[in-house]
Amino acid sequence: MSSCIARQIAGETMVGMGQATAGRAPERMKAILGSCVAVALYHPRLRAGVVAHVVLPDSAGRNGVPGKFADTAVPHMLTLLKQMGVPSHGLTAKLTGGANMFDSTGPLKIGDANVEAVTRELTRAGIRVAARDVGGTKGRRMSFDCSNGQITIENAGLPPRIL
């Protein structure tokens, strides 16, 4: 189940910027991340989860695709799970992304701001962050497995690691 159209290849759904995609085992969701943060919420007993590709920290009341801002993405993710019959209690979160890839001398270190904002929203929602792989200056390719809640992360030129 997806909140909006997402590209699917062989059981793996690409979650683009501002999108949120929910699914059950054995589905996988994938994203390419720079300064954006992928938030994955997972219910281990029901083996269901949702990934949002968060672009910016704060909507400041602006309209936009719900997965775009940290403050709208987290409630939207919980709504998607609820529509699947997945309760919000018992969920854990994992974060990945939030890099500052270039021109990091400027005031807008958007990667860091995204990580902070997502963490704040998850705390507000009472969801524990079980693991994170964030920051740095490199892009990430992530893949979230609804079968076990694991995230596989790849940086350019490095072997994959499991979160």
Binding site: M17, I32, K68, A99, G139, A156
Partner: protein, 205 residues
């Protein structure tokens, strides 16, 4: 490659006209830098929904070699030169007057050659845009990056993404002796830059 516009054509046409003018100047500079071998031409000016940007620009999850130049300030943007590794090394070798390196690790002279290409092209655009919109633009030093192009593009889009769900992207293509190369320049202006460009052309007309 044909130019493409969305249904709000008149607004994009204005931007296309200004950017085509800047590209013409930049092409002359690029041609001089490469001893007449390479020119650039404006392929398209488009508005693309945020979630479709990587897909519409055919930027997958492969690793690419890029040079990024940021134009700082509210009226600014980001310029990303995108190459595949092989052709980037060929360009660097050509500029250095030697055969392409075979070691997978880029040497400092190679990085410098490619970075300087980005700097020259970026400054050519900056000078043209400064003249056309009558606003001083402040470039960053160029960054040499080898990474997922979609990751780099994300950060480049941030200023626009703050206020828009449809993002304006200008795509410039490279030509070697009039044959299209698989290189691209993506220019992502800030909203303020976009307004400045539109106002400049409206004033001129």
């Amino acid at each position: 490659m044909t130019d493409s516009f969305r249904d709000d054509g008149p607004r994009l046409e204005v931007l296309h006209e200004l950017f085509a003018s800047a590209t013409h100047d930049a092409s002359a500079v690029m041609c001089r830098w490469t001893d007449g071998l390479i020119t650039v031409a404006l392929d398209e000016v488009r508005e693309i929904p945020l979630e479709d940007v990587a897909n519409e620009l055919n930027i997958g999850d492969e690793l690419l070699t890029m040079v990024v130049l940021a134009l700082r300030g509210e009226v600014g943007g980001n310029m990303i030169l995108v190459f595949d590794d092989d052709s980037a090394r060929q360009l660097a070798a050509s500029l250095l007057g030697r055969e392409p390196e075979t070691d997978p690790e880029w040497t400092e002279p190679e990085k410098s050659a490619l970075t300087e290409t980005g700097n020259i092209l970026g400054c050519a655009y900056m000078n043209a845009l400064t003249r056309l919109i009558n606003t001083d633009l402040v470039p960053s030093a160029p960054y040499f990056i080898q990474d997922y192009a979609a990751s780099v593009l994300q950060q480049a889009l941030m200023a626009q993404a703050l206020t828009c769900d449809e993002l304006l992207i200008c795509r410039i293509g490279f030509r070697y002796k009039n044959k299209q190369l698989d290189w691209r320049v993506l220019f992502v202006p800030t909203q303020a830059m976009r307004r400045a460009m539109e106002q400049a052309l409206h004033s001129a007309h």
